[in-house]
């Protein structure tokens, strides 16, 4: 069976996998990182989004062997060692950007990528378009959009946004 070695949340990890093992299965079942969720398993919902070499991708649509040698960040890798939340997580909390929370890990990982790739600003329309690949079945998009807009100045070092309503 193929052996894969990768860096997950800053730490080296390796495991023996089948060729057909998906990256999300490696993360959840072999490495015990169950923060990454499997929602639809058909590449549509985005609950499984993780960062692979800095890119937000669907870990249910990538083979574990394709991630050999890659640097992977999951939702577990965002908070600081002392437990301080990533600004995006903090804004999701502040704006109550979740109902059941199932889609949240993928939403947060996509949102961080979205903010990071828009250093010059991010409109509400761009946020909504950017979330095209992430589904929230509670239809809680409104607060998710607010949280992402609020995280933008924090991630780009522009100070604190206005408090939540």
């Amino acid at each position: 069976m193929p052996q894969v070695s990768l860096t997950v949340n800053g730490k080296p990890a390796s495991a023996e996998v089948e060729a057909r093992t998906l990256l999300v299965e490696l993360l959840r079942e072999k490495l015990g990182l169950t923060g990454t969720h499997v929602g639809c398993d058909t590449s549509q919902c985005g609950a499984c989004v993780v960062h692979v070499d800095g890119m937000a991708v669907k870990s249910c649509t990538m083979l574990a062997v394709q991630a050999d040698g890659a640097k992977v960040t999951t939702i577990e890798g965002l908070a600081a060692a002392d437990g301080t939340l990533h600004p995006m997580q903090e804004m999701f909390r502040e704006h109550h950007a979740l109902q059941c929370g199932f889609c949240t890990p993928g939403m947060v990982m996509t949102a961080i990528d979205l903010v990071a790739t828009h250093p010059d600003g991010l409109t509400e329309e761009q946020i909504r378009h950017g979330l095209e690949g992430n589904l929230c079945r509670c239809t809680g998009y409104h607060n998710i959009v607010k949280a992402i807009a609020a995280a933008w100045p924090l991630m780009h070092g522009k100070g604190m946004p206005a408090a939540a309503e």
Binding site: P2, R20, M55, K58, G133
Partner: protein, 263 residues
Amino acid sequence: MYDFAYQKPASIADAAKLLADPEAKALAGGMTLIPVLKQRLNKPATVVDLSKLGLAGITVSGGMVAIGAMTTHVTVARSAEVKKAIPALASLAANIGDRAVRYRGTIGGSLANNDPTADYPAAVLALGATIKTNRRSIDADSYFQGMFATALEPGEIITAVEFPVPEKAAYVKFPNPASRYAMVGVFVAKGPKGVRVAVTGAGQNGVHRHTAFEQALTKSWSAAALDGIATPSAGLNSDIHGSAEYRAHLVGVMAKRAVAAAG
């Protein structure tokens, strides 16, 4: 998913050898192949990963934009060179699938698969691009051979796509509101190969040219030139998302919008 053997060859020659086996499948970005494998719609003995063949990259020179087969959609969408030379192509790439798909999906994968609702085939056909493979060059008009069918032979691998820079071009699609695939997408171009109009999403045989629109736009490049030219619904898809007649109507609307956007 059925299990398979995984190979990641380091040379095109080795990849071609592996892919000469009819039981082998090429893996580019995997945005179609992996979902297909998960649904057990395909059962390859070997999956051949093309990511180590050095096929990614963009070069623009001499009125030609060459895009390596393993170049991802996001790379094309963000390329300053593509945005300058063929903005319609960068904008098409920026609207394929969703963000996560665009980080993995590749131009070569899209063209080899030739999904009848894919975006890139419309650009390739309308711009009169050339598909470069490990064996030959294939012009766009002979490359697309129907739904999921192409001129590629077993063991033949797309290495790059060469687009002649047009004078004007634009792509407008009507995405299915749920899947975001093009129900109808129209790419219009006026360039070194003349005026060409390619339609994706609508036809039962995949991407095709719209010669009536091409003739009208050759006489006068304006949205108004398409007034009164009916698109026959014969041969167009009819499904729960829309009838063939509806799609025929959309072809006209998308084409006019594309001509207006191209300026």
